[in-house]
Symmetry: C2
Subunit: 477 residues, 2 copies
Amino acid sequence: MSQTFTLQSVLVLSEAGYQTQDVQVREGIIAAIGPNLSVIGEPIDGRGKLLLPGFVNAHTHSPEMWCRGLIPPLPLELWLGVLYQCPPLTPEQTYLAALWTAAETLLSGGTTLVDHLILTPGQELETIAAAAQAYQEIGIRACIAPLIQDHPMAVGLPTGQASGQLATTRQTQAVLELMETAVQRHHQPADGLYIAPGPTGFQLCSEALFEGCVELSQRYDLCLHTHLLETRAQQMLAYERYGVSGVEYLNRIGFLGSKTSLAHGVWLDDSDIDLLAMTGATIVHNPLSNLRLGSGIAPLLKYRQAGVNVTFGCDGSASNDGQDLLEAIKLGTMLHNPTDFEYRNWLSLPTAASMASLGGAKGLGLQEEIGSLTVGKQADLVLYDLSDWSMLPASDPLGLLLLGRPVNLIDRLWVGGRPILQDRQLKTVELANLRQRLLQGRSEWVTAPPALNQALEEQYRAVMGLGAGAKASAGKN
Amino acid sequence: MSQTFTLQSVLVLSEAGYQTQDVQVREGIIAAIGPNLSVIGEPIDGRGKLLLPGFVNAHTHSPEMWCRGLIPPLPLELWLGVLYQCPPLTPEQTYLAALWTAAETLLSGGTTLVDHLILTPGQELETIAAAAQAYQEIGIRACIAPLIQDHPMAVGLPTGQASGQLATTRQTQAVLELMETAVQRHHQPADGLYIAPGPTGFQLCSEALFEGCVELSQRYDLCLHTHLLETRAQQMLAYERYGVSGVEYLNRIGFLGSKTSLAHGVWLDDSDIDLLAMTGATIVHNPLSNLRLGSGIAPLLKYRQAGVNVTFGCDGSASNDGQDLLEAIKLGTMLHNPTDFEYRNWLSLPTAASMASLGGAKGLGLQEEIGSLTVGKQADLVLYDLSDWSMLPASDPLGLLLLGRPVNLIDRLWVGGRPILQDRQLKTVELANLRQRLLQGRSEWVTAPPALNQALEEQYRAVMGLGAGAKASAGKN
């Protein structure tokens, strides 16, 4: 059986650093870890290789792959104004983008991803079905969090007045019914496919929508996923609309819990962080996106000290612009060092690796099933070739993997014991073929971004207290 | 003649964005740029490819390649304490590290590097000769700035007293004589090899050493290179020792000029920045190293606004841990967005590309010879394959190149018209062979870093006002 195998003499992490062990996998489950185990199934030579639990790409938006490299550096609110003018994808384009996102995640050590999936209007269920199909085909463990909202975009910016065109009960109900249908059709934990209600964020969602998502999550035992306080403007909006911080608001309406993961969390103060720690919710840190959009530097070391579970994500490729999970982990490991002279608070490399694997599993409520090299857990495993050029001079494996620039060094990768990568090649999807389909499947707009909306820019500049200033400075070199 | 060729229908940057042009190169010099040029020499199909001037890896320490991945996250002063316990390299190891550094720089779009070269004690000239040989063989344009100092390491930390064991005149003179010998033997601009006096930084160098370097640079028309205010401790030290800022001190002794490049420049205040702008000196920004060592975030946008020339470097691989120049440019382009809500001040991508090429050339006083696609300049050129997997979906080429995760997408690369890369392979050095030599040439210490010096740590903690606190917290997860 291909899902039964024995890794021999492979390097694994230990309390003291590293040790060489054998690892038995029986029918997709880690059956034993120790020296000189008997061989069950296929024997696999692990010498010169490092075995880690798979990482989790805990926040992305797969459809944005089509926008990679497209939008110039702009703050989130203006960037969104461009993004939402890009024509919606066909289900085929969604399917390809999901394969593509999964492929890059797998090739950089990710065995699970959370797709906060942008839905094509009028084809919402087809969009979800297309992504689900892609993830099942390529074999990555995937949580699809359909991105839902019931307020129009214009409500998402602070305006100085608490009102706005809010959703009708009927609209909210329709969105929740859609979500329930998606759950009934695609939530298949036994197949490594999960649906999580994914309200965009409080800036674009009604209280009724959040409450409906919480109700769904209780009824079907689902995770919850949303954006949280990515920008200063969102922080301002929360106080304007609710009179309290965004964290306090979400907590008050019952959205925060141990199966809730929150993307970004850049603009939280100390009391927000304490509150978050109490709820058991997970912060998904997206350092590349936070820099590209100028959102800020999340207070990661404070999160850790307060006991908040933190993991890493790539975010969508319109704000990154790639799905190399090792790159996100590298930056997430280092970015916070300058925020604290007390270097003893800095993330150690074993801590960062654990945040990327077990931290991601916790955010999905899967910490008993995946996220560590533990007997009884699913074999979501990655075997890194330490003799690769990018790992020279073969010094500290974790130092080279997490702080270096590793490229295509994964010898093998399994999800639930199913072999997905072997000899550095994807086994489930042929990349050369995918590349052809991507080139054929792209629309013309991918080479020319829509223009920045001038009215939106004026509103944003007013909100942020930026001078009305002539546009002249915009193109300044 | 291999150094005469014509690129046909290649994408180049223009004021308006991009345009398709032909480019003639005659005997290593860009001879013409325009539509439908006649073919001279070899015709090269440029369709689907982007041609940029080569970037400059404007600050690195090649010997640190042997320490890649080795040292855990620590602040500069403690990290140095570990680094300087690593055994010195043999000339053969220095040669290999230089080849390796050059190879990674070339493979990520760099055609020039500045090697602030750590010298093996007692074999200083052999070290320089070994690096020079490597750069000439592989064909990269290289400025070797031998790292010199005449104070012992212990003087480099603030102590609360302005004195310390300073260098004797004899020691200083010996270092300067060594530098002059290196200049006489290896400064060969016509061959793309330059020597620049490279005092470590004011923290470890006497005034006489700086003045001697300035005198050498005037006599031989050399650039100058040094570290500047990388950490808060260095900022404190300058005031303690000189009573003025580090910038004011270096300016007063005549070290700052239009051929001086300064690595890091993290801890400068507004008046330092104005002073720097007046001198015409160049800041080399090393964002990866600044984060890994927790040094801080250099005020890059302020530099730009003040008119300071800025370019990018990888820094040595013990503090990065790689020599992927595109990675350094990416982070250097984005890292500063969160420091200014006025997004119109953010670096545009064409600006970042120009900083990485022309900015680097200026820092070496070579702006009339390299750094842009200009008739009459040397053909230091890089041809990027836009159909590469990492450049999909072939949207904005500069967006994908500078903000994406491009890997091994260089179709061809020339230095002074000499073909160095072709069909994504180095032509001058065989990488597989180099890999074998690196594996054979490594010492045992590359797998186990020396321990952190406890006395140094205590001194550092006192200087930085960090609690004496038990070591217990150091390994805390």
